[in-house]
């Protein structure tokens, strides 16, 4: 055990995800040894992120203003909405540079066993966005696990009567993997979603 303030810092750092008591101690001593200006910058960044960041009024993504960068961008196609679980998923899709539409962040997936139902997600907000008739395609990009699939099924059923084109991201073999190591479920999905090779 260390003197009060140092122990306080170790305890606080230990609450962060993936940081155990040993790592917390290492980070704390790094902070102690670091230049005061660097530490101030870190403290300022921590405070600023809590003060300035909020959730986009339209899509629920993290934003520095009332609306996020993507919702404000007039070059993004307003006819296509891609539904994801978390803001992290927006970043992952943005990195592909394949998608030019807009997003909707649900804030999780339906998981009755954890007590999370459709009411706990931003589904009401999504329905409100779809109501004006401008959107023509809804891409369901929830995680390819059980909760994500159930959420996609629920959404597809909910928007079916609106006559939109509803699509789901493909599941299959990871690029750079070995076929023999693929599990039966993934390989089965890859067969189901095989495409015509037009050469």
């Amino acid at each position: 055990m260390y003197e009060g303030v140092v122990q306080n810092l170790i305890d606080e750092l230990g609450l962060l995800p993936g940081v155990g008591p040993k790592s917390a101690q290492r980070i704390a001593f790094h902070v102690l040894a670091a230049d005061p200006a660097d530490v101030k910058r870190l403290a300022h960044a921590l405070l600023e992120v809590k003060e300035k960041v909020r959730f986009c009024r339209i899509c629920g993504n993290v934003a520095a203003e009332d609306e996020c960068r993507i919702c404000r961008d007039p070059r993004r196609d307003p006819q296509v909405i891609c539904v994801v679980e978390e803001s992290k998923d927006v970043v992952a899709i943005e990195k592909t540079r394949e998608f030019r539409g807009r997003y909707h962040v649900l804030g999780g997936a339906i998981s009755p066993i954890d007590g999370i139902g459709p009411d706990d997600l931003k589904i009401r907000e999504l329905m409100a966005r779809l109501a004006d008739g401008q959107v023509t395609e809804l891409i369901l990009a929830t995680d390819p696990n059980l909760e994500g699939e159930a959420t996609a099924t629920y959404l597809a059923r909910l928007v079916k009567p609106m006559g939109l084109k509803v699509t789901r991201l493909a599941s299959g073999l990871p690029v750079g993997g070995d076929l023999e190591y693929a599990d039966e479920v993934t390989l089965g999905r890859a067969f189901e979603g095989r495409r015509l090779l037009d050469v």
Binding site: S111, L146, A150, V185
Partner: protein, 278 residues
């Protein structure tokens, strides 16, 4: 036994650290086991998809100090694939998994009958030959019976008299007029008959039952189950029992909100349960 092999049904998965998961499995020989599956949340994981809830798997585990480590998995039947495309079946299925997880308290205590019941229940649910809420109620009643809490349905739970009138949860089933405690629900005779059919596995009689009796039966069974578990089943709140009758966007004719929809008629008809859920 540092390394052992068993077959089981995945009841629950919880995130652990960066890319691992803790998997709760109901196995045939060992009972309920909690094991760590390393790296299963990565897209390149070789057995991530095999350890999803509802999967019936053959697995190898390495016994650890607090949690076992899952080393190999083969899929026997991925029931989740069939259930996930049908929302009412999926929600009924999650309630079954949660109930089995709560009913079996101790880990590594063999629970063969619960395992067989789980497997049968999932198979019936995935086949889609019966209404999901009937399958769910049959599973609840039989799970309770296996755990030693079977409700008395043919004679009064207190004095054994044949002429029964009410269903008293705290008394352990149906009761006669003389033994009836204040506030006990008075279900229709058809509802009690439906409960008997579900407990015995008489599907012909259960499938022929009317919707209002099914609704009443679901309310009584859910209340009885949660009373014996001494806690609520969280998934039950999200089980869809009557999707039909609501317009496609989700609003039902009475204008209630679809998304946070609960069971108002059930609440109203069973004061005992209403008092507890409040």
């Amino acid at each position: 036994m540092s390394l052992y092999r068993d077959e089981g049904v995945v009841l629950r998965t919880q995130k652990l650290g960066e890319a691992d998961r803790i998997i709760t499995i109901l196995t045939r020989r060992t009972g309920k086991v909690r094991g760590v599956a390393k790296g299963v949340r990565r897209t390149m994981s070789r057995f991530g998809a095999r350890l999803e809830p509802f999967s019936h798997v053959d697995l190898q585990l390495h016994a650890g100090r607090s949690l076992d480590v899952i080393t190999q998995v083969e899929t026997l039947r991925p029931y989740g694939e069939a259930l996930v495309t049908d929302y009412p079946r999926y929600t009924a299925g999650t309630a079954m998994l949660e109930t089995a997880d709560r009913l079996i308290m101790g880990e590594k205590e063999p629970a063969l009958r619960q395992f067989l019941l789980m497997l049968g229940g999932l198979r019936t649910l995935a086949e889609g030959t019966h209404e999901p809420r009937l399958v769910l109620d049959a599973f609840f009643l039989r799970s309770l019976a296996v755990a030693g809490y079977a409700p008395a349905l043919s004679g009064c739970a207190r004095c054994g008299a044949e002429a029964v009138r009410a269903f008293a949860i705290a008394s352990g089933g149906v009761v006669c007029g003389a033994c009836r405690p204040a506030g006990a629900a008075v279900p229709a005779a058809e509802t009690i008959a439906l409960m008997i059919a579900l407990l015995r596995g008489d599907w012909a009689a259960a499938d022929a039952s009317e919707s209002r009796h099914r609704t009443e039966c679901s309310g009584l069974v859910a209340a009885y189950l949660q009373w014996h578990l001494e806690q609520g089943i969280r998934s039950l709140r999200h089980v869809e029992r009557e999707w039909a009758g609501r317009d496609p966007v989700g609003r039902d004719p009475a204008g209630r909100d679809p998304i946070g929809w609960e069971w108002p008629e059930r609440r109203a008809s069973h004061p005992e349960e209403a008092a507890r859920t409040r």
